[in-house]
Structures are given as C-alpha cells and as structure tokens.
C-alpha cells in the first residue's frame, strides 16, 4: 500500500482581489522507498501542494478539499494536536533556505534535541546522543564540537546538512524536500543530492523532491510530476518522461535547460510568464505560451489522459498522438543538428 495517497486535492486562498486557485485536482501516490520528483516554475503550485499535505496552511486563509491519506489514515483537516504525531516524526521536511529555517539564537544541538523531545519522552542526554549521531550521519566534520555552534557559523551547504539532520532525527517514513539545493553551489548541490540518496537507501524512506530543475529530477527521482498553473500536466516514470515527453510545457522545460553534455547554439525558451492563479486563462492554462495552441485549447481544459501503450504515463494536451510524436521527433532532430553544427 502506498505510504502517501493524495486524491483530488484543491487549495484555494481567499485574497482581497479574489480567490487564488493555487492547487487544482492534484492526485498521486507515493510508495514506500520511492522518490517522487515534482517539477514546475515558481507559482506552479508545487510547494503549496505539499504544504497542504503537511497541514501547514492556516485553514482561516486557505480552503482545502480532497483527501490526503498517510499510511491509510486521512490526515487532511486534522488539527495541529493530532498532526503533531505525524509531522516532524513520520514525515520530515527540508526547506529551501537553511538560514531562515534555523533558529539563529539557539545552538544547533539544542534545536536538534528539541526535535527529539517534542515527539518522545527522553532525557536531555539521550536526545543529545541522538543529535550527535544524526550529525555524524549527515557527514558534518567534527560533529562533537560543531553541535555547540550556531547556525551562522556554518556554510550554506553545512546548514542544509543540519536541516537534513533535523528532518531525519526521528527516522521519518517520508521526507519532503522543497528545493533543498536551489540556494547552493553546484558542487555543494552534488554533495547534498548524494547524501539524500545515501540516507534514503539506509532508512528506506520515501522522498518527495520539489524542484524547478529537471536535472535534479533526472538524478534522483523514480517518478515525476510536472506541475503547471496548479495542476499536474504530466506524470510518468523518470525514463519515460525524458525519453518521450508528451506535453508541450515539458518540451519547453527540457529545451530551456543548458546542458553540459550538449552544446546548442540557442536555448529553446518558453515565452511569457507563468499564468496568474487569480485569473487563470480559460481552457488549458499553458495555451498563451504554447506554440501549438489551437481553438480547442482556449476553450476546454484537457483531461489527464494516459499516453499510448503506457499505463503510468499521463498528460494533459489536446494535440493528437500523431502530432505530438511528429513534433517531438522534429525537436530531437533539431537538437541533433544544432549539436553537429556546434561541433
């Protein structure tokens, strides 16, 4: 059975200007030990989806409907008191900016001990022993002295390791990582990704990796959700998605990524801006930026439908199979040609 099951999740924010439809009809399953990559631009609803899943949104501002089942139990709409036994214990979370997520006036050892003592009735010394153990596990050098340092005494990469340590200290079954490497250098990013992979294997955790970088997804994930305008627009196994993406937005994302193994003369760019979730365009939310838009795209929201011959590859697009296959083949050919001309 899936550890995390989300069915038809909707999140709406009431604002002075109207209702912001941040998440619309999102459904997915996460199996134990799997890695789910969630990709999209800023404002695509990827973070809000998982804030909703974790119950971190204030119900006074956000209207949440649908179902979130964690280990078979419905957790959407549970109060803070009930959620506390799950959040931070069975589901861990890492955020993008490690500096603002750590308390600047408390030693990191204290913060790690707190994470244990909130969930378990253990002594200070036992909590400290666990804190030290987990710091060593995330490969912080000289952990026994660093445990008494403050957050500002750590570099960005080391702070992110502390955040990971804090998320892991209670041995969660699911780890939700929201852009954990976006603020880091590429070399540090490689270290952190490798660390997450290693810890995942050791703890048999399921990991949700939220990112805007398809490279990170390719590196880490088994399954991928591509989000746009608050909806899932494509979902597939990682190899299928990169081999034959079906949705024009995914094509654009792949084309706009500068790649170190391929030299192209000009990057493909997705024109324009992500849609306003306050007043989303009618029909397919991607239609104003899509090169293949026709009348139906402007009138009718495409359903999430399966790709030919694949039961676990779904996408939203009105283009028929022949057109999509032809366009994708043309794009591959153009890429191959520009690689040749670049030498």
């Amino acid at each position: 059975m899936a550890i995390l099951e989300v069915q038809d999740l909707n999140t709406r924010f009431r604002t002075d200007d109207g209702i912001v439809k941040a998440v619309s009809g999102v459904s997915f399953e996460l199996e134990r030990g799997d890695t789910l990559g969630v990709v999209g631009e800023s404002g695509s609803g990827k973070s809000v989806t998982f804030l909703t899943v974790m119950g971190l949104l204030d119900p006074r501002h956000a209207e949440m409907t649908g179902s979130v089942r964690f280990d078979g139990e419905e957790i959407l709409g549970l109060g803070n008191y009930r959620l506390r036994s799950i959040r931070g214990k069975r589901i861990g979370m890492i955020f993008q900016d490690p500096m603002t997520s750590l308390n600047p006036v408390k030693k990191i050892g204290w913060q790690l001990e707190e994470a244990v003592r909130i969930h378990e009735d253990v002594s200070r010394s036992e909590a400290r022993r666990r804190a030290l153990e987990v710091l060593e596990e995330v490969e912080i050098p000289k952990a026994s002295t660093r445990i008494d340092d403050y957050a500002h005494q750590f570099s960005g990469g080391m702070r992110q390791r502390v955040m990971i340590a804090m998320a892991l200290i209670n041995k969660p079954e699911v780890l939700i990582a929201d852009e954990p490497t976006t603020a880091l250098d590429v070399t540090t990013q490689a270290q952190i990704l490798r660390l997450i992979k290693k810890l995942q294997d050791e703890h048999e955790m399921a990991v949700v990796m939220i990112t805007h970088d398809l490279g990170v997804v390719a590196e880490l994930a088994n399954d991928v959700l591509v989000m746009y305008g608050g909806r899932i627009v494509e979902s597939a196994q990682v190899d299928d998605l990169f081999e034959k993406p079906e949705m024009p937005y995914t094509w654009g994302l792949l084309g706009s990524l500068p790649r170190v193994d391929i030299e192209v003369e000009r990057l493909e760019q997705i024109p324009g801006q992500p849609p306003s979730l306050l007043r989303p365009p009618p029909g397919c939310a991607f239609n104003p930026r899509c090169a293949y838009t026709f009348d139906r795209c402007r009138a009718e929201l495409p359903e999430l439908r399966p790709a030919e011959g694949k039961s676990d590859h779904h996408f939203r697009c009105h283009l028929d199979g022949g057109d999509r296959a032809r366009i994708w083949a043309e794009k591959q050919a153009a890429l191959a040609a520009s690689m040749r001309s670049a030498g």
């Binding site: 070399t187 490689a190 270290q191 490279g215 590196e219 190899d239 654009g252 990524l257 030299e263």
Partner: protein, 355 residues
C-alpha cells in the same frame, strides 16, 4: 579585433583587523590573488567558481567599485587601476554591471522608468523627454511593455526584474557589461529567456561581457572564453570549445561533473566526481596548490610543496591549466579520477625521495 580589457596580475587583499581603536591588522584575506586575462571587444569571458573563490571581488575591482591592491586594469587602452573618482567618471559610461539578485538590485520606491533613466541622469545625457523616449525604447529592446514605464519593481516577476536590470545597464550604451550571476536566482525557463536575451543584445550592440556564474552549464552557453577560479586564482583558462571538450584541471572536471544532467540514462552512466568539504578559508589558504586538500588526485610531497603554474595544453592554441596531474582525457571512466592519481603518486614517489 581590439583588446577591450586587459587584466594583469590583479590582486585584492582585505585586511583582517583586531581592536576597536587601533585596528591592528592581524591577517589578510587574499580574495583575488594574481588574475590575468585579455578580453577582446565583442567577446564574452565566463568566470566560474564556487562561492568564496573571489569572482565577485574580481568583478568589483574591474568596475573599480573596489580599489585593487596590486596589478593592472587596462580598459580600452587606458590604465584605470588607480584613477581617482573624477577621472573614472567618463570611463564609467562604458562599463555597467548586472547583479545577481533582481529583488535587491532595484530600488523598491522608484518607478521602473526612473530606475532605468538613472544612469542617463547621472551622466547628464539628454533632456527629460529624450530620456523618457530612450527608456521606452530600452523596455522594448529587453522585451518588456514600454507602457509599464510607471510601474514599481514589485509589480514584476523575477525574470522581468532582471530584464529591467539589463535595460538599466544598456541605457548609456556601454562597451563592457559585467554580469555577476545574472541568472542564478531565476527559474530554468526564465534563465533561458535571459541568456538568449543577453546573447541577442551582444550581437545587436557589439557588447563585451564578463559573465560570472557558479554553474558551468550556463557559462558554456554564453562564453567564448572561460576562466575557472579557485580561492582567488585561475586554475584553468581557455576557449570555451577546448575547455569543455577536454578539461585538464581536476577542479574543472569536478565542477563539470557536479552539474545534474537532464537525462536519466546519461546521468546514471557517467562517472561523477563529488568534491568533499567546502572551499577553505582564504585567510589561510592551503600551501602550494590551493586545491590540494580537496583534490582526488592529491600527491603528497608534490601538490602541497610545489605550486603549479598555468601552462599551455600541448597542441592547444588557447587553453592553460595549473595542475601537476592533469586529467588525461574527458569524460573520465569509472574510477579513473582516483586510479590515475594513484599511478602518478607511485611515479612521483621516487622523484620526491631524490629531493
């Protein structure tokens, strides 16, 4: 082609002081320590390195926002290293910067029109009406709606703000634009828009760029030449083509292989070199080769004793590296980074004992 910018042995040291009143200097941070390069008009130099390698300090020295400690900056045939404030003024018209954070680099209380027109005002160019016309033209050039002249920065997204920053840099028709991590704060799809825009502008206005980034991917796409820096020193420089085809320095190799590849099959097949640890403190940099404590090819008695100098790659026209045990070929196969190091360690051992 003419040389627009020549940097000779540029150094910038910051004093580390102790004491409130007497400010006794107890150490120096060698942020930039001997950088040389030549940049021709119309070309782009990409500068790559991790945080703390001195790339931004170098940029600030070139723009003379910081006073260099040593070396020479020759811009457009003129030595500008020690020019005073007033003498720099006319030169500043030919040099502009684009900054990393599009949220922090635009004044939140000013309208976009005033932000873009500011360099024109500072240099006293045109009348108010001329400036307004120029600003609208610039907005159009960078792909924004000229009608948005009266809006505030908060009304724009990150990518649009970066376009405003670029419009401001273009306003006085500079010859050189120094871009300090212009796309690192942006989403990938927006990144592509900005990179393409910078390339188009270079072609249309014959601009010269110094392009700073920590991501070798991004730099490859815009640069003619690339310089990889580590702790204030260049460790490898070369034409983009040669450096990416066959990097020689293990640090360049590590930077290249650290970048995630957006293709799971290629990604799984390649051998990744993950560096351990962070960049060491530039107050007390490691002896000899500064990369040696993190280098997978470290050879005791060589790398920590004898500092490698930049040397030309045999057979190459424009590709230098500073390493005793360069990478033999690229991409590396499984374990070759380590194994090659071990072999050279054996080879180097008798030589060391002879000393």
């Amino acid at each position: 082609m003419s040389e627009l910018l020549v940097i000779e042995n540029l150094e910038k040291y910051f004093p580390v002081t102790r004491g409130l009143i007497f400010q006794k200097e107890i150490a120096q941070v060698r942020a930039v320590d001997g950088v040389n390069f030549t940049l021709e008009a119309g070309q782009t130099l990409g500068v790559v390195g991790e945080s703390g390698c001195g790339k931004s300090t170098m940029a600030r020295c070139i723009a003379r926002l910081l006073e260099p400690t040593g070396g020479k900056i020759i811009f457009d045939g003129r030595d500008i290293t020690h020019l005073g404030r007033n003498e720099m003024r006319p030169i500043r018209r030919d040099m502009m910067m684009v900054f990393q954070d599009p949220y922090a680099s635009l004044n939140a209380r000013k309208r976009v029109g005033a932000i873009i027109a500011e360099p024109l005002e500072v240099h006293d160019i045109g009348t108010d009406a001329d400036r307004k016309k120029r600003v609208q033209e610039l907005l159009e050039i960078v792909g924004l709606n000229p009608e948005h002249y009266n809006r505030f920065p908060h009304e724009f997204s990150g990518g649009q703000r970066q376009r405003i920053g670029i419009a401001r840099a273009l306003s006085i028709n500079p010859k050189l634009i120094i871009c300090d991590e212009p796309v690192s704060a942006l989403d990938v799809s927006v990144q592509a828009q900005i990179l393409n825009l910078l390339k188009d502008l270079q072609r249309d206005f014959h601009l010269t760029y110094v392009f700073i980034a920590h991501d070798l991917n991004v730099v490859r796409h815009v640069s003619d030449r690339v310089m990889v820096m580590y702790l204030g020193k260049p460790v490898e420089t070369g034409s983009s083509k040669e450096l990416y085809a066959a990097p020689k320095h293990p640090y360049s190799g590590a930077l290249l292989s650290a970048v995630p590849i957006a293709d799971p099959k290629v990604g799984r097949a390649r051998e990744q070199i993950v560096l351990v640890g962070d960049v060491p403190s530039p107050i007390n940099p490691p002896a000899a080769c500064r990369f040696h404590p993190r280098c997978p090819r470290f050879v005791d008695g060589k790398c920590n004793v004898d500092e490698p100098q930049l040397t030309r790659v045999p057979g190459a026209t424009d590709h230098d590296f500073a390493c005793h045990f360069p990478l033999e070929h690229w991409p590396l196969g499984e374990g070759e980074m380590q194994r090659a190091g071990a072999q050279s360690q054996q080879a180097a051992a008798p030589a060391a004992s002879l000393d």
